[in-house]
Amino acid sequence: MNIFRRLLNSSDAKPSDISNSSVEIKQPASKGSSQTPPVPAAEATSPITTHNDVYLGDGATRPLNEETLLNYITPKHVSFGQGTDIGSVRTNNQDAAFSFYATTRSATETPDFGLFVLADGMGGHIDGEKASAIAIRVVAQKVLASLYTPMLDLSNDNQPSITESLQEAVEAANAEVNKAIPDGGTTLTAVILMNNLAYIAHVGDSRLYLINGNNIDQITRDHSLVQRLIELDHITPEEAEDHPQKHVLYRVLGPNETVEVDMLTRRLPARSKLLLCSDGLWGLVENKDILEIVSQSIPPQDACQKLINLANKHGGLDNITVILIHLPD
């Protein structure tokens, strides 16, 4: 950025081009609550004043000065990171993760499309890692074939229901794991992102969190015995913490020929974040610590690494896998 700025300042850089450019900031509709464009802290002194000049309240629009223009960053697209670690205790990594994001700019207005899948396998020895690997592969293959490829065909008419396609993909993954790994199973949490609408499929106790400002909400419901006991008001969340059967799941992909999949849709607020994680993270890192790391203004890939580091610092008792997605403005 510094080099870039120096280049502009030293060269002629046709400043007139910039001042004549069509970028305008209109007077915000609701005064006071307007969000000022983010300006890096280091630049806070001089640009801020110029900046304020724009909001004179006289209704006139003026070109921004160069520096503000160059530092004006509004994320227009999703950014994401993915990380996994074997942890500090286990001898193999039975987690699996898949991230896919396609963004298109053309006259045909294909919406941005993302698919994020996380699976945490279980079963003796290598069965777990096989189960999770099958699960993410089948879901990715089915979803891309039934939803993404048709989108490129412009076949908007009679397109399949996204929830149905996603659910069918997860059911196909279940059948595949059931056939291939009779003694294993896997959790699965999958998110399809189309613009700012999330379609979610979930089985097991991996989690999806929505982080918006200072709120962190668990969107998925653990299919665990203790969660069920909490929902039925039979034990408290505190009692669940050290319940002897804390790790008993009643629903995963694999053991049965059919599986009931939790499906839901969520419209995501601007600048919110989605976090998919295996129990290796949420079992060892408290929500407030997750929130703190995720709220830092660092690239999502770095945040993923920090989350993994913290889980390892707290013992790393299990494999740790995270996918973090930043939504744009």
Binding site: D157, N158, G185, H234, H243, H247, G254, P255
Partner: protein
């Protein structure tokens, strides 16, 4: 999570095989014949007692092999095993296997007991297709009897703790025998790794460490439930028996048995039978009842096809007030059929009739305020614009009317090229109206001047929904279209048959809900038209949806009103009516009002789908009710507009 097992009870498989081999003789007395099962902490063998030389006396020998390497813990385990063996040895009951011997050898403990020639219930379930209900009742009575015996032991009651099909043997005489007295269970310590599948049969309180005789009653209920439904509770959501009604899977079970099992499965211990004697008496009463009662025609399975629906006929839920207690506050008679819905503004109600008139009626008394005649029948529902004090509607005479709603005088009209049966929507200073001529018109609300007309090439009867960016409507072609406020197509989604219903957009979530005559309710992304989910009914959907909290309410020609979770597209409840639904439901506070083609208007509790009251009009209802604070208005084909009190 490497070291996990599918079910925690099978935790000791895998290691090297150190079980006793055939022909091995234990204690110089018991000659091993073979392995008959794997218990909690070791093998169970079949053996021959060599002390009986002339007869072949068979015994079962249970082996306890502490898997822990830690000496102190191992000692405790052996001690507990021995103590339980002593308790067992002292028990004498026909359903409890006799204990013959107990000894330690090579750090393993052995329990010698009666060999039972038979099959356990779990094996019976896989071997058979259908177990006779009478047999199951007999077994249940015997199990109550032995549990009652255990629960009445002194000084402390014995709680079996682990009743499940695999722990109940049926011997060669057809009598039940309890096996596996939870001896090993005491030693099962917390499973550290994630495991799949729960115990399934255990009562909720057992997970807090509370074991009471009532816990055994719950497990007995769970066992009976599985015998009748063939649904393994270990593979289902824990404590969800009530979501799998026995009737749904087995139509031949008498009501009395279902009630007994439901009570045994009470979530809280105090909801269950007080003791096994009480449960046994209930079962005996059922068994001894003349069988006429058991052979009653099974209720239709269809009725139970939803996991939530627990309806047992419509009448059951009608509250007292329904029996004629709800009467209209007033009625208003028009000169021909009322096919469309009323609208209200302040103290005036408006309704169009096939007699060509738009009627304005005082909403508190039902007296006529004014009427306005068009040149054709009116099938379009009026729309009120409070700001400009207009009532807007179309007519079979091809014309769209805007009247001053205080006087009934024409403010402006706009011609189209065919009949207008759709209804108008007012937004952004314009009115949007579809016509059978295939166009969606955007007209200036104050003077009726045409802003644009979008050609859908097919009759439009679906009322448009207008968001901040889009006008969304359906057409005869089955297409749902989103056009920009300047009249350009942004997206379309094609259903298989015509869309007459008005789309409804949840503005917060940006999801558009609309039903089609292809039987589906669709949830579309309002910005892109992508199909988020769809929900299938068994009949055409003509009416629009209503929203109550997180529920989308839709009524179908299949006579059902459905409540569907907005986020998942899954059914929450359904309500069966007498006739088909063509009109749409209205949500008013916590109630749903909807009319059917048999002439009934129903009031339903929105959260549960239970009926509060119904009233029969003399004609079909094809329209949607409308509400003021305390009054519900609905028009019927019997030429009458009804006003009912709304009871909050």
């Amino acid at each position: 999570m490497p070291e996990t097992a599918k079910f925690s009870t099978l935790g000791n498989e895998g290691g090297q095989d150190n079980s006793l081999k055939a022909n091995f003789v234990l204690q110089n007395r018991y000659k091993i014949i073979g392995v008959i099962g794997a218990g909690g902490m070791g093998m169970v063998y079949q053996a021959r007692d060599l002390n009986f030389t002339d007869v072949k006396k068979l015994v079962a020998i249970k082996e306890m092999q502490p898997t822990t390497g830690e000496a102190g813990l191992r000692a405790t385990m052996l001690k507990t095993f021995r103590r339980e063996a002593n308790i067992l040895a002292a028990l004498s009951h026909p359903s409890i296997p006799k204990i013959f011997d107990f000894f330690d050898l090579n750090e393993r403990a052995y329990l010698v007991m009666e060999y039972i020639n038979g099959s356990d219930l779990e094996a019976l379930l896989t071997k058979t297709k259908d177990l006779p209900t009478e047999k199951i009742i007999d077994w249940a009575i015997e199990l109550c009897d032995v549990l009652d015996f255990l629960h009445n032991q002194k000084p402390d009651p014995i709680v079996f703790r682990d009743l499940k099909p695999s722990n109940v043997m049926v011997d060669s005489l057809g009598k039940v025998r309890l096996i596996d007295f939870g001896i090993a269970k005491t030693f099962v310590t917390g499973v550290k790794n994630t495991s799949i599948g729960t115990e399934g049969y255990s009562a909720p309180e057992q997970y807090k460490g509370d074991m009471t005789p009532q816990s055994d009653i719950y497990s007995l209920g769970a066992t009976l439930h599985q015998l009748l439904t063939r649904k393994d509770p270990r593979l289902e959501t824990p404590f969800s028996f009530n979501e799998r009604p026995i009737r749904k899977f087995n139509a031949n079970v008498p009501d009395g048995l279902i009630q007994i099992i439901d009570r045994a499965l009470g979530f809280n211990a105090q909801e269950r039978f007080q003791n096994c004697r009480e449960m046994r008496e209930a079962l005996e009463k059922l068994r001894d009842k003349p069988s006429s009662n058991q052979n009653q025609p099974p209720q239709s399975v269809q009725q139970y096809s939803s996991p939530v629906a627990k309806r047992e006929g419509t009448d059951i839920f009608i509250e007292d007030s329904a029996n004629g207690a709800i009467q209209p506050k007033w009625i208003f008679k028009a000169e021909d059929e009322l096919r469309s819905s009323p609208a209200v503004s302040g103290d005036l109600a408006f309704v169009g009739a096939y007699d060509t008139n738009m009627w304005a009626i005082k909403s508190d008394t039902g007296e006529l305020a004014w009427k306005f005649a068009t040149k054709g029948g009116i099938a379009s529902s009026p729309t009120v614009d409070e700001q400009n004090k207009l009532v807007l509607f179309g007519s079979e005479d091809f014309t769209f009317y805007a009247l001053d709603f205080r006087t009934g005088r024409s403010s402006w009209t706009h011609p189209t090229k065919d009949r207008i049966r759709g209804s108008a929507r007012v937004a952004h200073g314009h009115v949007f109206i579809g016509s059978d001529d295939g166009k969606m018109y955007a007209l200036n609300i104050t003077n009726g001047r045409l802003l644009w007309a979008y050609d859908a090439s097919n009759p439009i009867r679906s009322r448009a929904f207008v968001t901040n960016d889009l006008v969304i409507f359906g057409s005869e072609s089955g297409e749902i279209t989103g056009i920009t406020l300047s009249g350009n197509r942004k997206w379309s989604y094609r259903t298989r048959k015509s869309v007459m219903a008005a789309p409804l957009v949840d503005m917060k979530e940006g999801i558009c809900y609309v039903g089609s005559t292809d039987n589906f309710l669709y949830a579309l992304d309002a910005n892109t038209g992508f199909n988020s989910w769809r929900f299938r009914t068994n009949g055409s959907i003509y009416g629009s949806v209503a929203i109550y909290k997180d529920l989308v309410i839709v009524a179908s020609v299949d006579k059902y009103v459905y409540a569907v979770n907005a986020q998942s597209g899954k059914e929450r409840w359904r309500f069966l009516a007498e006739g088909a639904f063509v009109g749409a439901p209205l949500v008013h506070q916590d109630a749903i009002y909807v009319g059917d083609t048999d002439g009934y208007i129903y009031c339903i509790t929105a959260s549960t789908g239970k009926e509060r009251w119904r009233y029969k009009t003399r004609g079909s209802i094809t329209s949607t009710p409308c509400a003021t604070n305390d009054t519900i208005l609905i028009s019927s084909m019997d030429r009458t507009l009804y006003a009912f009190p709304h009871v909050g």
